[in-house]
C-alpha cells in the first residue's frame, strides 16, 4: 500500500507542475490574442505623423460628436434604466412582473437595426412628423437601445440590497422617501455607475447607427480618415483616442463594480417590501415602462416587419448565401473564442489568470473598428517582415476570427466563470474523497454543474459575432457579405425596405440570449444567490 501509494504520488508530480503553469499559459494566450490589437493601435496612434491641414478639423468634430453622445445619450440611458429598475424592484404597479423582463428586450436588436427602423419611421413616407438624423438621431437610438445595460445593473443592485438595511432605516424613523435617498440609492449607486459605464462604452464603440444617421463620431471618423481620405495614420490616431476613452470607461466600470461588494452583505432573504403606488402614480409607472418597451423594441421591430412584408418572397431566397456565411463565420468564431474564454475562465481565480482576464477585458472594451485597425496594423507589420502575403481570402477570414476572439472572449468567459463558481472547491474535493478519478470528476461533477454557463457563453458569443458590423465590414474578403453587412449596405443606399429582412433576422438571433436572460430575471427572486449551491 505504502509503496504503490508513493509511486502514484511521485508519478503525478510533473503533471501538477504543468497544472501550476497553465494559468500563466492561458494568460499569455489571452494577452496575445485580446490585447495585441489594442497595443498595436496605441503604438501606431502615438507615433502617427499627420501633415494634412484638414485632419485637425476632422478630429475635433469627431471627438466632439462622441463626447456629446456619451454625455447626453449616456445620461439619458442611465436615467431611463435606473428609473425603470427602481420602479420594477421597489414599487408595486400594474404590469410590474411583466415589465421586469420585457424591459431587457431592446438588447435583442443591435442599435444599427433600431437606427434603420427609426430612419424609416421618421423618414419620407413614415408616420412620424419629425425627422431623426445626425447626432440627435444617434442619441435617441442609443438612449433607447442601451438603457437596458443600466437597467440590468441597477436592478441587480437594488435586488441585492439587504432588506435589513432598508428596515433598519425605517425602524430608525426614516420616511420611505428618505430611506430611498439615504440608503437604497447610495447602496445601488456603484451598480448604476457600472451599468452607465457599460452603456457609454457601447455608445462610443457604435459604428452602424452613427454611420446611418450621418453623425460625426470618432468611429465614423476612423472610417472616413481611412477609406474616404486614405489616411491610415489619421485613422490610427483617432482609434487611439477612442481606445483611451474606452479604457477609461472600463476602469470606471471596474472601480464601480469593486465597490458594489459592500452592498448586499446580508445573506438573509425576505421579499423586498415594495411601495404600493397611488393610482395616478401607478398609472404613470406603467405608462413609463410601456413606453420604454414600445419605443425600444416593439414599434421599431413592428415597422421593420411591415417594411419587409412589402418585398416579394423571392427576396428571402437572396438572403440564403449571406445567412449561410454568417452562420459559418459565427460558428467558427464562437468555437475559437469560446476555447479562449474557457481558458480564461478556468484560470481566472489564479494570480496569473487574472492578468489574462484583464487582457480580455481590454479586448472587450476596445470598439470593433479599433480592434480591426489594430489587427490590420499587426498584419501590415508581418507583411513588411515578409511573414505573410496580402490580406485577402483565407488570411482575411483568419484576421476576422482573431478580431472576434479579441472582442468577445471576455463576454464568453463571464458566464463560464459563473458556471465554474457553482462548482465549489469542496465539491471537487468531495468527489476525490469518494474515490472519483480526475476524468470522472470532470465528466460527472465539473462539466454538468458548469454546463449551463458554457452553453450561455457559447450563445452570447455566437450572437455577438453575428451582430458585429464594423470589423466585419473592414476585414471581410472581397464580396463576402454577412447579414449585418448586407443590411448595412442596403441602409446606406436608403433601401430600407430591403434592409428590413436581414435586420430582422439578426434581431431574431439576438432574441435567444435575451430570452435566456429574461427567463433568469423572471425566475430569480430578490436576494437569490447567483449560484444556488446552498
Amino acid at each position: 500500500m505504502a509503496l504503490s501509494g508513493d509511486a502514484r504520488a511521485v508519478a503525478s508530480s510533473p503533471r501538477s507542475r504543468l497544472a501550476d503553469a497553465w494559468p500563466a499559459i492561458a494568460a499569455a494566450a489571452a494577452a496575445l490574442v485580446c490585447a495585441a490589437p489594442a497595443i498595436a493601435v496605441l503604438a501606431g496612434g502615438l507615433t502617427a505623423r499627420i501633415d494634412d491641414p484638414g485632419a485637425a478639423d476632422l478630429m475635433a468634430r469627431s471627438v466632439r460628436g462622441t463626447m456629446v453622445l456619451v454625455l447626453v445619450a449616456g445620461a439619458a440611458a442611465t436615467a431611463l434604466g435606473a428609473a425603470a429598475a427602481w420602479l420594477v424592484t421597489l414599487c408595486q404597479f400594474p404590469g410590474r412582473r411583466l415589465f421586469e423582463w420585457l424591459l431587457v428586450l431592446p438588447l435583442a436588436a443591435p442599435v444599427y437595426v433600431l437606427a434603420y427602423a427609426y430612419g424609416a419611421i421618421t423618414g419620407p413616407g413614415g408616420p412620424a412628423p419629425i425627422r431623426l438624423s445626425g447626432l440627435a438621431g444617434a442619441g435617441v437610438v442609443y438612449a433607447l437601445g442601451f438603457y437596458p445595460y443600466v437597467y440590468l445593473a441597477a436592478r441587480a443592485a437594488f435586488v441585492s440590497q439587504s432588506v435589513c438595511a432598508l428596515e433598519a432605516a425605517r425602524a430608525l424613523g426614516a420616511t420611505p422617501w428618505r430611506t430611498f435617498l439615504t440608503v437604497a440609492l447610495p447602496l445601488a449607486w456603484p451598480g448604476i455607475a457600472a451599468g452607465a459605464a457599460l452603456a457609454c462604452m457601447e455608445i462610443a464603440a457604435d459604428y452602424g447607427a452613427a454611420a446611418y444617421f450621418g453623425a460625426e463620431t470618432v468611429t465614423t471618423g476612423v472610417f472616413r480618415a481611412w477609406f474616404a481620405r486614405g489616411e491610415p495614420q489619421l485613422a490610427l490616431q483617432l482609434a487611439a483616442y477612442l481606445l483611451a476613452g474606452a479604457l477609461a470607461l472600463l476602469a470606471l466600470e471596474r472601480y464601480a463594480r469593486g465597490r458594489r461588494s459592500f452592498a448586499g452583505a446580508s445573506a438573509r432573504w425576505r421579499p423586498l417590501p415594495r411601495y404600493r403606488l397611488a393610482p395616478a402614480a401607478a398609472g404613470a409607472a406603467t405608462l413609463f415602462c410601456a413606453t420604454l418597451v414600445v419605443l425600444g423594441a416593439a414599434a421599431p421591430l413592428a415597422w421593420l416587419l411591415r417594411l419587409a412584408s412589402f418585398r416579394p418572397l423571392a427576396d428571402l431566397a437572396d438572403l440564403g448565401p449571406p445567412l449561410l456565411r454568417t452562420l459559418l463565420l459565427a460558428g467558427a468564431g464562437a468555437a475559437l473564442t469560446l476555447t479562449l474564454s474557457a481558458l480564461i475562465a478556468a484560470s481566472a481565480r489564479r494570480p496569473a489568470g487574472r492578468a489574462g482576464a484583464l487582457a480580455a477585458a481590454v479586448g472587450y472594451a476596445a470598439p470593433g473598428a479599433v480592434t480591426a485597425l489594430g489587427a490590420m496594423a499587426v498584419f501590415a507589420a508581418a507583411r513588411e517582415a515578409g511573414l505573410v502575403g496580402g490580406l485577402g481570402g483565407a488570411l482575411s477570414i483568419a484576421a476576422l476570427l482573431w478580431v472576434y476572439a479579441a472582442r468577445f472572449a471576455a463576454a464568453g468567459a463571464q458566464p463560464i466563470e459563473a458556471g465554474l463558481t457553482r462548482v465549489g472547491r469542496h465539491m471537487g474535493e468531495a468527489g476525490r474523497t469518494l474515490g472519483a478519478s480526475p476524468s470522472r470528476r470532470l465528466a460527472h461533477i465539473d462539466l454538468p454543474i458548469a454546463a449551463p454557463g458554457v452553453i450561455a457563453g457559447a450563445l452570447v458569443v455566437f450572437v455577438d459575432i453575428l451582430k458585429e458590423l464594423p470589423a466585419t465590414l473592414v476585414l471581410r474578403p472581397f464580396d463576402f457579405e454577412t447579414l449585418a453587412v448586407r443590411a448595412h449596405s442596403y441602409a446606406s443606399d436608403d433601401r430600407l425596405t430591403q434592409a428590413a429582412a436581414p435586420a430582422l433576422l439578426i434581431t431574431l438571433a439576438g432574441l435567444a440570449p435575451v430570452i435566456m436572460l429574461s427567463r433568469r430575471l423572471s425566475r430569480a427572486r430578490a436576494g437569490d444567490a447567483p449560484g444556488d449551491g446552498q
Binding site: A2, H426, E429, A430, R432, T433, L434, Q534
Partner: protein, 345 residues
C-alpha cells in the same frame, strides 16, 4: 468492514512560512471517535485535510492502517485513500438527487444494486423518503444527513467530519449528534471530527485532542482531559474557568477566594478553577455582584478585593446579589500550574 488506525507523526504544514500545523503527533485508534477541538485558526481543519489527502504535509508523516500516505513530497491522492469526509458546507452535488449523491462513491457495475445500497444508507439516516429530492430542496439538517450518508456509503476506513453540525439550529444539533454517532458506530469506522464546541467534543468523542495555534495541547479520554488538564489552555478549552496568578509558597497557592494545594516548588504559579468548582455558602470573605440564570444553574459574579470570578451555582438557592458569602473551592475542578512566563494580560 471496520476502521483502521489513523496516526499522525510530527506533522507540519506551513502557509506562507507560518506553521498552520506544527509538530502534531496523535493517534486516532481504530473504530473510535476522536474530536479535534480548537478555536478558528488552531489548525484543526488543516489537520483533517491532511488526513484526507487534500493537503500535503511539510513535515512528519500521516499513517493510515500502518501505511504511510503522506510525507514531505509524497501524497497518496485523496481518491485512493478510502477516507470519507463530511464538509462543513456539505458540498452536496447540486445537479444530483439525494440518492444519486449517496450513490456517487459506490462502485460496482450494477446500477440497480448501487441505487438500492444508497437507499439503504439514506434509510439509516432517516431520509429514505427524500431520495429523489435535490439538495436545494432539503433543509440544512437533511443536507447534513445526506452528506453523512454519502461519506459513509463507500465504507471508508476512516470518516472525517468538519464541524458537522455547527451550521444548524441548536435544537437540531443534539439529535444529529446522536444520529451521527450511531451511524459511525454501526459502521465501526474510525472517526475524526473537528469542532470548536467543547460540550460537543466531550459528548461525542472517545478521545479529545485540544489544538491551539497549530500545536497539540493535550489529548486523551474526555473525562481524563477534563479532570486532569495539562495546562491552563487545556483547562480553559473545555469549559468556563477562573484564573488567578500568584506565588506558591510551602505547597499552597493563596487565592483571594481561598487556598489551593500546590504540590510543587515555591515560585510563580497560576490557579485555574472551573466555574462549577466554586461553591458559595453563608458567611463572608467575598461578595456576590450579581447572578444570572443559565438553564438549570445560575452564573454568579463574585468579587474579593479587586479580583472577580464566576461561579456556576444551583438556581434558586444561596446568597443573592449584593450579599456577602463564603467561597469554597472543590479540589476536583481546581488546578495549579507553574507560571514560567509573565501572564499575558
Amino acid at each position: 468492514m471496520s476502521g483502521c488506525e489513523v496516526r499522525l507523526e510530527g506533522v507540519r504544514r506551513l502557509f506562507s512560512d507560518e506553521a498552520a500545523v506544527d509538530d502534531v503527533t496523535l493517534t486516532a485508534p481504530a473504530g473510535a471517535v476522536t474530536a479535534l477541538l480548537g478555536a478558528s485558526g488552531s489548525g484543526k481543519s488543516t489537520l483533517l485535510r491532511m488526513i484526507a489527502g487534500l493537503e500535503p504535509v511539510d513535515g512528519g508523516r500521516v499513517v493510515l492502517g500502518g501505511a504511510v500516505v503522506s510525507a514531505p513530497g509524497v501524497t497518496v491522492a485523496a481518491e485512493h485513500r478510502r477516507v470519507g469526509l463530511v464538509f462543513q458546507d456539505y458540498a452536496l452535488f447540486p445537479h444530483l438527487t439525494a440518492g444519486a449523491n449517496v450513490a456517487f462513491g459506490l462502485s460496482g457495475a450494477d446500477k440497480a444494486a448501487r441505487r438500492a445500497e444508497a437507499g439503504a444508507w439514506l434509510d439509516r439516516v432517516g431520509l429514505a423518503h427524500r431520495a429523489d429530492a435535490f439538495p436545494h430542496e432539503l433543509s440544512g439538517g437533511e443536507q447534513q444527513r445526506v452528506a453523512l450518508a454519502r461519506a459513509l456509503a463507500p465504507r471508508p476506513r476512516a470518516i472525517l467530519l468538519d464541524e458537522p453540525v455547527s451550521g444548524l439550529d441548536p435544537g437540531l444539533r443534539a439529535d444529529l449528534r446522536d444520529r451521527t454517532r450511531a451511524a459511525i458506530a454501526e459502521l465501526g469506522a474510525t472517526a475524526v471530527f473537528v469542532t470548536h464546541d467543547a460540550d460537543e467534543a466531550l459528548y461525542i468523542a472517545d478521545q479529545i485532542a485540544i489544538l491551539r495555534a497549530g500545536r497539540l495541547v493535550q489529548a486523551g479520554p474526555p473525562r481524563a482531559v477534563y479532570d486532569h488538564p495539562a495546562s491552563p489552555e487545556a483547562a480553559a478549552a473545555l469549559g468556563p474557568v477562573n484564573r488567578f496568578d500568584g506565588v506558591a509558597i510551602g505547597g499552597v497557592l493563596s487565592t483571594p477566594f481561598g487556598p489551593l494545594r500546590a504540590e510543587r516548588p515555591d515560585g510563580p504559579a497560576t490557579a485555574i478553577v472551573r466555574a462549577e468548582a466554586v461553591t458559595l455558602h453563608a458567611g463572608d470573605g467575598a461578595r456576590v455582584l450579581d447572578r444570572r440564570p443559565q438553564g438549570a444553574f445560575d452564573v454568579a459574579r463574585i468579587a474579593a478585593g479587586n479580583v472577580e470570578w464566576r461561579a456556576l451555582i444551583a438556581a434558586r438557592a444561596g446568597p443573592q446579589a449584593g450579599e456577602a458569602c463564603a467561597v469554597k473551592l472543590t479540589a476536583e475542578g481546581a488546578f495549579v500550574f507553574d507560571r514560567t512566563r509573565a501572564p499575558a494580560r
